[in-house]
């Protein structure tokens, strides 16, 4: 009786089999790809900036998947936590000249606390009502950012977010000014985020989230305080969104109101779906693919000189929902 490995994955042979079986091997491959990515991406018409953006949204989608894929809760408001963190970091860096890491921490903590507060208020609602409430809260922040011109820069956005070095003054300083330097800073955070998420979904906590997704009432009836777990899942997704948001602000040296919009939240839902909900690698791939397609389509697929990427994205999304409902990763994964 094989107790330690409850899920048998069928027989696989050779090195391919080892990769199939070992998630650590898969993680290692992912990290290698991420590290060499800037040298590969020019081959498909991309550039360093695109690689950075792909990775940032992978972090966002990875966390969002905890909420959507593992807990089964649909939120259209997590872009608010992404944007809020970016703005908060940007404002404090512009006005107070503190080290970048500290500024990021400020943005992330503020955004997380906000998520906790909002989550506490709305987590008792389910399904469509919950989704509508997340839109409502998200749009609140969107309007603050776009209308409070003196503070946030309004529709013009918040410009001049510095990105020079990270480190502790007097101890060490690593430059992140050049795109490639910044890329590897994002890689470091991406790896930490991925490993933490892997640990999380394989912990007792992560397993309980899955039981909530499968049957919320039964999860209650076996003794789990479902609401607490849902709230925690909501906040975790917000933390990942916030981390991605601060990186995005640093990347562009700039934040703009549309980063908080519920349409951006919808993008994350699409990325998660396209990659494969409820799988570890799916959203990472989904985010990368969607971001890359958007940029590449904008560059190459112009109709009469106009950019129609939404049109092509719509078609691609349609194809996925109709023919690959389990997403890219789900499609390649063997059914157990």
């Amino acid at each position: 009786m094989n107790v330690s490995n409850p899920v048998s994955r069928g027989e696989s042979k050779g090195w391919f089999g080892i990769i199939r079986k070992s998630v650590y091997a898969q993680l290692a491959i992912l990290f290698v790809i991420v590290i060499i990515w800037p040298f590969v991406i020019p081959l498909i018409g991309g550039y360093d900036g695109l690689a950075i953006e792909m990775l940032i949204f992978s972090i966002f989608a990875m966390g969002f998947n905890v909420l959507l894929g593992y807990t089964g809760i649909l939120s259209f408001g997590h872009a608010a936590f992404f944007g809020l963190a970016g703005y908060a970091m940007g404002l404090i860096l512009i006005h107070m000249k503190i080290p970048i890491l500290l500024g990021m921490l400020f943005g992330i903590v503020l955004s997380t606390l906000t998520a906790a507060l909002i989550g506490l208020l709305i987590i008792r609602k389910t399904g469509i009502y919950f989704a509508m409430l997340t839109i409502a809260f998200g749009q609140m922040f969107f309007f603050i950012a776009s209308r409070w011109k003196d503070f946030t820069g309004g529709e013009d956005g918040l410009t001049g977010i510095p990105r020079d070095v990270i480190g502790i003054p007097g101890l060490f300083a690593i430059p992140i000014e050049k795109p490639l330097q910044f890329y590897y800073f994002v890689v470091a955070i991406f790896m930490i985020a991925a490993i933490l998420k892997y640990k999380l979904i394989h912990s007792h906590f992560g397993m309980v989230l899955k039981t909530i997704r499968e049957n919320e009432n039964r999860a209650k009836m076996v003794g789990y305080n479902v609401r607490q777990y849902k709230l925690a899942s909501f906040i975790i997704a917000a933390i990942y969104a916030a981390v991605a948001g601060t990186l995005y602000g640093l990347f562009l040296n700039y934040m703009f109101p549309q980063t908080l919009d519920w349409i951006r939240s919808g993008d994350i839902v699409i990325m998660t779906l396209v990659g494969g909900m409820g799988t570890f690698f799916g959203p990472i791939i989904g985010a990368g693919v969607v971001v890359a397609l958007r940029v590449l389509i904008s560059i190459y697929a112009k109709i009469g000189g106009l950019v129609f990427w939404q049109f092509f994205m719509g078609i691609i999304f349609l194809i996925f929902v109709l023919f690959f409902p389990r997403g890219i990763w789900g499609f390649f994964q063997k059914r157990e």
């Binding site: 409850p6 048998s8 899955k210 499968e214 209650k220 076996v222």
Partner: protein
């Protein structure tokens, strides 16, 4: 020692008193059954005991501590475990995970939880299916898994809501053995809701009878059985055989054929479910389709309806080939299916549910009123539930509504999938009479039933399925008379 004592418990939904001033006490180690007609408040009472619904008033003492109004997760942690009338498992997780994850809350370290999981797997007889995805289990195994999940929480008191629902006799036996083992070997105190009277009478220490939300009687099986009020309200003077009044004899030889299936094969994805199924139904007949769980009965009905289209073979209805038509076109030809899972619209009222088929079929308002009235005259006890939403109806009421809804519109041919499931004995008898009545009025019926007694009593002809094929065709009396055959095919 009293482990549970409920005092003056009420649960009201608006003007409906689902549970009304119920006093209820259970001794440690006891096996108590709760019986009562459909809509008596049995499941609501369980929901109140387990914190799913807060009581309107009253006190619930569990080990001398008032637990009334506590949230369900706290009730569970105090030691009350529960299984569900409608199977409640974690469908996309493996059987093993279904048990392990709840175990981890009560057993630390993880190795303890793993040991406990294997113990439960052994008890519920699912050890060799530990790595199955739960959704792929058979109905009976799912019911056992549901009980298994209730065992993960270190319960002292176990509430089982119709554990044998939807099971054929030989599977029920397996479940009853499990319940007895849980009581005598494992020492659980058990409260059981069950409709099958032979089971209730043979395994209970005491029985409580609920009727219209109130306690009607309580006592040993013998006392309850002898109680006249119980006889009247629940058992309906039932002798075990369903002797119907106007048992019609033969005389169907010359009728025209209505439905004919020839060598139909059907698949769920890759798995081949129906193998060359051929059967026919003549106008005005009641044909019973029997067999064990997983024999392919429901799939046969789904194939006729176009829900699981036949991959090969022909299906003719009134001499027209229908096997390639979509389900809604088939429905418009006058075929209706009452599925076992009922499919009541949860947010529509009982009356709205009933009228739903008319919106699609363009039938006059007069005709609609006439048919709805006919329904309420067949099921008069549902009149007062007319304006209640679907999800507020009890399991049995939903079942009656599903049958009634299947009758609405210009239906010539009705397929019923386990209509007696979840119904109290008196109502089963009543339902049998209604089926016979609508048949006499001209309806042709194909009936899938676990309740072989009822089906054999009603049917003109009977088919038995096994492993996706037809293995017997004949008269009910012949099958009934051949004890060895009926034992082998049906387990009765």
């Amino acid at each position: 020692m009293e482990i549970l004592s409920a005092k003056k418990v009420c649960k009201h939904f608006g003007s409906l008193a689902a549970v009304n001033w119920v006093d209820f006490a259970v001794q440690k180690g006891e096996l108590r059954s709760i019986i009562g007609p459909n809509g008596a408040g049995k499941t609501t009472f369980f929901n109140v005991l387990t914190g799913m619904l807060p009581p309107t008033s009253g006190e619930i003492l569990f080990k001398n501590e008032n637990i009334a109004g506590l949230p369900p997760y706290e009730v569970a942690r105090k030691g009350i475990g529960r299984s569900f009338q409608i199977t409640s498992i974690f469908p996309q997780l493996t059987v093993y995970e279904n048990l392990l994850i709840p175990c981890m809350l009560y057993y630390q370290p993880k190795s303890e939880a793993i040991n406990r999981t294997w113990e439960i797997l052994e008890d519920i007889d699912l050890k060799d299916k530990a790595h199955y995805v739960a959704a792929n289990l058979s109905h009976g195994d799912k019911r056992h898994l549901d009980i298994g999940i209730a065992l993960t929480t270190k319960p002292e008191l176990l509430l089982l809501d119709e554990p044998t629902s939807g099971m054929p006799p030989e599977e029920s036996v397996r479940t009853v053995k499990l319940v007895q083992k849980l009581k005598s070997e494992k020492g659980y105190t058990i409260i059981l809701i069950e409709h099958k009277m032979d089971i209730v009478l043979s395994i209970s220490d005491r029985i409580t009878v609920l009727h219209l939300g109130e306690k009607l009687a309580e006592g040993t099986p013998a006392e309850v059985q002898a109680n006249e009020e119980v006889q009247k309200a629940y058992l309906g003077g039932l002798d075990k055989e369903y002797k119907l009044v106007n048992r019609r004899e033969g005389n169907l030889q010359n009728r025209n054929g209505l439905l004919r299936m020839e060598k139909v094969n059907a698949f769920y994805g890759e798995s081949h479910v129906l193998h060359d199924v051929s059967l026919h139904v003549k106008e005005g007949e009641i044909v019973a389709l029997l067999g064990r769980n997983g024999a392919g009965k429901t799939t046969t009905l789904r194939a006729v309806m176009g829900l699981t289209p036949a991959r090969s073979g022909t299906i003719q209805f009134q001499n027209r080939e229908i096997e390639a038509l979509p389900a809604e076109t088939i429905a418009n030809q006058g075929i209706s299916l009452v599925p076992a899972e009922r499919r009541i619209f949860a947010n529509l009222t009982l009356a709205e549910n009933l009228e739903m088929p008319f919106f699609m079929k363009g039938i006059s308002a007069q005709e609609r009123r006439k048919q709805v009235e006919a329904f309420f005259s067949d099921f008069p006890f549902l009149i007062k539930r007319k304006t209640h939403k679907g999800n507020r109806l009890s399991g049995g009421e939903q079942q009656m509504l599903a049958v009634g809804r299947g009758l609405m519109g210009h239906v010539k041919f009705m397929m019923l999938d386990e209509p007696s499931q979840g119904l109290a004995p008196m109502i089963v008898k009543h339902l049998a009479e209604v089926i016979q009545k609508i048949n006499n009025a001209g309806m042709t019926i194909l009936l899938v039933e676990q309740n072989a007694l009822m089906a054999l009593e009603l049917a003109d002809r009977v088919y038995v399925m096994d492993k996706g094929g037809i293995v017997y065709e004949g008269k009910p009396d012949d099958l009934w008379a051949n004890r060895q055959l009926s034992q082998e095919l049906l387990g009765v």
